[in-house]
């Protein structure tokens, strides 16, 4: 079989990107695959193409609604018409329509919690599923930085689906997490594809300041002098907003982006950034998925990230086009306190665990009354079905320890005196073979190669609605 021909005939691409062909061949050969591919390396092609070469449907389990929506949109943009998405946001009519015609879709996206609903499970059992894709598979790992207990349910449904082939996809996974993916999905002899994590065109800089004020001054000066486009990552929604407002005041075209904004506004910020109408986006870690911008030259972490995995994912949004890009991590004395808070904040407290275990009514009430946070409830509800109260407390305590370890890794990064690139790779159990000329702040970095002088732009005067309409529809 000529895979290149199928690729060209189906999508118009003349060649595969690194890793894609190997993964696809193994899938078609009937093997389970765990693929570690950095974001932007065409992960989805690994199941898209096989879908055209196998009988039946491809079932993609996707943990995040926004991610699912983006993937469906991308698939449609590439001309795939036979795509359905099942998630809790469907209205009843849409849902019944999709479920009624389920066997006609080539791609079915589903959220993990829908997967185990008896009615839907029954529907799925009647299908011929050729491939089950666990997207963002690191979410299955309770040690991972993004653990989603619902994800463990994939294993529960496998027998009902007749044990289809499995493709587990993730952009970031340590050896430990890969092992867990294998174990939880019950993959006995999977083919494991690991793409080198290292991105040669990205150089690492770490800047330290005496206090927050100095840090802020550096940022203002830097973005006023140097050309974007770039992303400034902040630790909290509030901070992203503050930074954006501050930079706007000095004439920088910037906007903030976080998960608390309404969906339409988030799309608008993405549009503006994609169009080059914005120089910088100040954002929480919510920004990234669904953003396909190749020429991002800078990623600045204004506050220390909470895990190396998260850091690498965010940094990886720079330089997709292969041009030199700079990752700058800013640190001010005392930031580690903030880090500690951020890291432990999203774990359920013992108090919350007790409340959920002792609650006999609708647990959602606990959220409404402000006794238990929604994220906590999600995690605890899962464990309540599997473990005793005491064991859950132990479970969460272990996760807490793991998170503390993760933040220790970040702390080490900040105080590193050796090569940053080597250290980051080490965290993923990979070794650095070839060092690029511009490596990192501790091992040769010529800033001139990354900085372009910024031309100041005139702040736009308010358009009339007529002139804006003419610009949008020049027909």
């Amino acid at each position: 079989m000529n895979l290149e021909k199928t690729l060209f005939d189906t999508y118009g691409f003349t060649s595969f990107r690194p890793g894609q062909k190997e993964v696809i061949e193994k899938i078609l050969g009937g093997q389970d695959v765990i693929a570690l591919l950095p974001t932007g390396m065409g992960k989805s092609m690994c199941y898209q193409l096989p879908a055209h070469l196998m009988e039946g449907s491809v079932l993609v389990v996707s943990p995040l609604l926004s991610l699912m929506q983006d993937q469906v949109a991308q698939l449609k943009k590439m001309g795939e018409k036979s795509v359905a998405a099942i998630n809790s946001f469907l209205d009843p009519a849409e849902r019944s329509n999709i479920l009624h015609n389920l066997n006609t879709y080539r791609f079915i996206f589903i959220s993990p919690e829908m997967l185990v609903q008896p009615y839907i499970k029954n529907k799925l059992m009647g299908l011929n599923i050729s491939l089950l894709v666990a997207d963002e598979a690191h979410c299955i790992s309770q040690w991972g930085f993004d653990f989603r207990p619902d994800y463990l349910r994939i294993a529960e449904i496998m027998p009902a689906l007749g044990h289809p082939r499995v493709l587990a996809l993730t952009a970031t996974a340590t050896a430990k997490v890969t092992e867990e993916i294998k174990q939880y999905l019950k993959l006995s002899e999977p083919f494991i594809y690991t793409h080198p994590m290292d991105r040669k065109n990205i150089a690492y800089d770490i800047k330290k300041f005496e206090n927050g004020k100095e840090k802020l001054e550096w940022l203002s000066t830097f973005v006023a002098a140097n050309k974007g486009p770039g992303i400034i990552y902040a630790g909290t929604r509030k901070k992203s907003q503050e930074l954006s407002n501050l930079l706007s005041l000095s004439g920088i075209r910037t906007a903030f982006y976080h998960g608390g904004m309404e969906h339409q506004d988030r799309i608008f910020v993405q549009q503006q950034f994609q169009n080059g109408e914005l120089e910088w986006v100040c954002s929480t870690n919510a920004f990234g998925m669904g953003v396909h911008i190749p020429d991002i030259g800078h990623v600045i972490h204004f506050q220390v990230p909470t895990s190396i995995e998260g850091y690498v994912q965010e940094v990886g949004r720079a330089g997709r086009n292969g041009d030199p890009a700079l990752a700058t991590l800013l640190y001010a004395a005392g930031d580690e306190d903030l880090l500690a808070n951020l890291v432990l904040d999203d774990l359920p407290t013992n108090h919350e665990i007790r409340e959920v275990y002792q609650n006999e009514g609708d647990p959602a009430q606990l959220v409404d009354q402000g006794i238990v946070r929604e994220t906590s409830l999600r995690v605890i509800s899962y464990w309540k079905n599997h473990l005793s109260e005491q064991d859950t407390i132990i479970q969460i305590a272990q996760q807490k320890n793991e998170k503390i370890k993760q933040s220790a890794k970040i702390r080490k990064l900040i105080n590193l005196e050796s090569c940053v690139r080597e250290y980051v790779l080490e965290c993923f159990d990979q070794q650095l073979h070839i060092k690029p000329e511009n490596c990192c702040i501790n091992d040769h970095l010529n800033f001139a190669d990354f900085l372009t002088h910024r031309e100041t732009v005139d702040i736009q005067v308010l358009d009339t609605w007529e002139s804006r309409l003419n610009a949008i529809l020049p027909c």
Partner: protein, 341 residues
């Protein structure tokens, strides 16, 4: 119209007879008997459900400001206007929340996707990220675009002309129209976020959102005249056929089939008080509602007279004056107030 104007207008209407949270329920579109009947009593139709997602903390902040400015004071449970606020002139609203029920969002979503599609396609962009991802709206727009023969430059021009001419007929100021058009996007032009618009207009986000909604309501009113065939099509399914809530409609159905109030409650497994709420809603909405099925004409006249002479709509006050009237009868009578029997 600013958010503050809405609050003052509503609070003026219910002056001294409702709590400070009544405008909140009204603006959010709460479908409780109390809220629905207040709309009729106080003629507050324009404001019903104009902001279904209004956050309590945003509302509280706006209310707090009114207190601080000395525009309102609390008096026990209820809230009262002051001399300062009574003297304020608020603009006449072009809102019509009761009629549109938040459906302006559907209109706007369709419009956004049509405009974006035309913009991209007529500038030779075949693939683009749709600004609206809801599947049903995408399907609707796809059909619409085929119907208007969207690839045709002439058709694009006609659409744009209808859009521009109909919008220019909308009786809001330029800011309102600018806001709506800033929420549209196209090739190389992104839509603006509420925060961005608010910063440029030097207003609060909530005021910007309200102006957008008011502009859309007024625009849909213009389109309803059917002088703009391409644009009017966007109203498909947007305007509610009946202004009754779904549940009241069901009660109406049983009532028309000769069932009594008690029978309906039993049939539907609802409390009689809930069914009473429905009847109040019916009385308010249906000019042909037969109030004499629930009280004789003299009692009705008495209730109306007391409400007028004492200038009150508080049930307790009226009940005190006419002990023989039931609370349900008073509510029904007030709901039809102004209509001649």
């Amino acid at each position: 119209m600013l958010f503050e104007d809405i609050l003052i207008t509503i609070l003026k209407a219910v002056d001294g007879e409702r709590t400070i949270s009544s405008p909140y329920h009204l603006i959010k579109g709460k479908k409780s008997g109390q809220t629905i009947q207040d709309i009729g009593y106080y003629k507050l139709h324009p404001y019903f459900g104009v902001m279904p997602k209004l956050e309590k903390k945003v509302y509280d902040k706006a209310v707090q400001k009114l207190f601080e400015q000395g525009f309102i004071i609390t008096d026990g449970q209820v809230v009262r206007m002051t001399e300062a606020s009574m003297a304020l002139q608020t603009p006449v609203p072009l809102l019509n929340g009761w009629k549109y029920r938040g459906k302006e969002q559907l209109f706007m979503a369709r419009l956004s996707l049509i405009v974006q599609s035309l913009s991209q396609i007529h500038q030779n962009q075949r693939a683009f990220d749709p600004v609206v991802i809801a599947e049903d709206i995408q399907q609707w727009v796809k059909k619409y675009l085929h119907k208007i023969n969207y690839r045709d430059a002439e058709s694009c021009r006609n659409f744009k002309t209808e859009l521009a001419v109909s919008l220019s007929k909308v009786d809001v100021d330029a800011a309102g129209k600018r806001i709506v058009v800033q929420r549209l996007s196209g090739f190389k032009i992104g839509g603006l976020t509420w925060e961005q618009i608010a910063a440029a207009e030097r207003l609060e986000v909530i005021d910007i959102k309200l102006q957008a909604i008011e502009t859309l309501h007024a625009w849909m009113d213009v389109l309803e005249t059917r002088q703009f065939p391409m644009m009017s099509e966007l109203l498909d399914g947007v305007i509610q056929q009946s202004s009754l809530t779904e549940t009241a409609r069901r009660t109406e159905y049983y009532f028309r089939n000769g069932r009594s109030l008690e029978e309906i409650a039993a049939l539907r497994g609802l409390k009689t008080s809930t069914i009473e709420d429905h009847f109040v809603e019916l009385a308010m909405n249906d000019p042909g509602f037969d109030i004499l099925a629930f009280m004789d004409g003299s009692l009705y006249s008495k209730i109306i007279a007391v409400s007028h002479s004492r200038n009150t709509k508080r049930l307790r006050d009226i009940k005190e004056a006419i002990p023989e009237a039931g609370y349900f009868q008073i509510r029904l009578a007030l709901a039809t107030k102004g209509e001649t029997l």
